[in-house]
């Protein structure tokens, strides 16, 4: 059982293999029961189904997620972003271990649409968060590979539901901070944390302005040794800069803190802030209304994605696109009229 208890994904082939051998175990009801009982293999398998491109896997995954839904929603969902080099892995590992020490169970999900790796990045995740990966109260899942950033984000959003049903009450969703997925992550978490390093504002150059606006907390990491003084300076500068940003709908005033993930200083204070945020937002009703707005966002994003894929898989559309693109290129038709004609073909007109 030791091997089975280890977290990590199972590839879809293995699932299929299993489904042939033990048919009774792979119906949605059984899987959700196993997930709720804390079976990490069942959880990993369900997430793998989510990530599968096979239609029957997706249908089953969808059924599982719907069954998980009533048992989800109780975790604190924290988005963590920062450009490569700010010490994100160490921060997540140190903060994660501290959160677990305080009695929580933690799931760490990553989104990195630029990553084309699957097995490579799994090993990578276990290496870069070695302590956390070994901890039985932690579940680490690397970024799913996918064709579109939207698809990757959506799978992560559904994975949150499954992790919550499995009893994880703290969820970290990690992104790389280069602007491709942060809006999506912001739309699936309660609290958004931006990790920075000392450098007197220079590092904001690598971060899209919109990301700073989304942050509920800026953390200047590496406040240790030779960097300690610079980190405090950076904190002061960010605090001034934050005053220039428009107020947040939540009424929350974004904070700036320093920490050293390596020396594990400042992490307790960060966690206290996150809990304080949670308490305040539950008290003023923002937490609930924000999650409702997020659901609406995902509803409409999914419609867009599904419509797009339905349209471009339509035979009449596929047959006519090359001709219309040629006509556009030759200046025979405007792109607008070409789009209108294509839509008519789609509708069988």
């Amino acid at each position: 059982m030791k091997g089975e208890d280890a977290p990590g994904p199972i590839n879809p082939d293995a699932v299929q293999h299993l489904s042939k051998k033990k048919k009774s175990r792979v119906d949605p009801e059984s899987i959700i029961r196993q997930i709720k009982e804390g079976d990490r293999v069942a959880l990993a398998r369900a997430i793998t189904l989510l990530e599968s491109t096979k239609l029957e896997h997706q249908a089953m995954a969808s059924a599982i997620v719907n069954l998980a839904l009533p048992h989800s929603g109780k975790a604190i969902r924290v988005g963590i972003t920062g450009t490569p080099g700010v010490g994100k892995s160490t921060f997540i590992e140190s903060t994660g271990l501290m959160v677990i020490e305080r009695g929580h169970r933690l799931a760490v999900l990553s989104i990195d649409p630029s990553s084309q790796v699957s097995k490579g990045s799994i090993l990578g995740d276990k290496t870069r968060m070695a302590q956390l990966a070994k901890n039985e109260k932690a579940f680490i899942r690397p970024s799913p590979s996918g064709t579109t950033p939207g698809g990757v984000a959506r799978k992560t959003r559904e994975s949150i539901i499954l992790c919550e049903a499995a009893g994880f009450d703290v969820i970290f969703v990690e992104t790389v901070g280069v602007g491709q997925s942060e809006t999506a992550v912001h739309s699936m978490v309660d609290f958004f944390l931006l990790l920075l390093q000392p450098g007197a504002g220079d590092e904001l150059q690598g971060i899209k302005r919109g990301i700073v606006e989304m942050a509920d907390l800026l953390v200047v990491n590496k406040a240790d040794g030779a960097h300690a003084k610079k980190a405090i300076e950076a904190k002061r500068e960010y605090a001034v800069a934050l005053h220039l940003y428009p107020p947040k709908e939540s009424g929350w005033k974004p904070k700036v803190m320093t920490c050293s993930a390596i020396e594990t200083t400042g992490l307790d204070e960060i966690w206290d802030i996150i809990k304080r945020y949670r308490d305040e937002m539950q008290a003023n009703g923002y937490s609930e209304s924000n999650r409702a707005i997020q659901d609406q966002y995902w509803f409409h994003e999914s419609i867009k994605a599904d419509l797009h894929s339905m349209f471009f898989n339509n035979d009449a559309v596929k047959a006519n696109i090359p001709l219309l693109e040629k006509d556009i290129a030759e200046g025979k038709i405007t792109p607008f009229d070409a789009a209108r004609q294509l839509l008519n073909k789609f509708q069988g007109k």
Copy 2:
């Protein structure tokens, strides 16, 4: 005839009224002939048809634009953006008059999706560019009102085609620089100019980072009187900052210049840069390939917009959305599954 010769839109009711009285004049072929002969009323009327929400007007507008297409494409299309207060109107008026003096005919189109006004902003445009509005070689058209930023931008894109068919060989497309329409404008012009004012980098705070990356030329305006020294400092700082940006596909190195729109200094140099850009891009083939890419962009943007409107106007969709939104709100179904179900209803499944 004097009144008829004045530029400016005509409201759709007036068009309809006319179409009843003089049927022969409003077929697409006649209108495009009038436009090509330089009839500004016909041009204004065709743009008004574009902006109409009535289906028969849109169909006619579409026919007119397609007929205009073979006569379009020869103008230099320049996007001009900058936050309120940088002196955009004065800059466009001064530069516009200089361009006309050099023998060109100029059309100025504006995009401001935040503007809900129609007649108000027309008056506004004529007031803020009084000299240009009176000039017979200039055609000023304010931002069309529209429900979506995409819709507004698309109408402007089609208006460019009509203005070019009418013989305007320089097109200015103006936006307010707050990040809603700049991508759309960038996708319809050859050259993108960002107008700034002296202030040692502070003003970049109000401009989205992506906009600076799109710019082919940064112009620090108000390089006069007490601001002259600050403008030169700002120019130097921007020049340094531009080195940090990734190189452009066109191979063009973005420039920084100063000017005073009020004292009309530096404007000739700006126009020379724009012409040099045009010559270089025509020589290296970027101009042609870029316009082809832009057409593809508009083709796909139009498909998205048309699909969206077709979907949400579908009776089964309209009937099921409230129920599904309620189920989502009550946690009975995931947003993803709700989207899937709605798509099935749309497809009659």
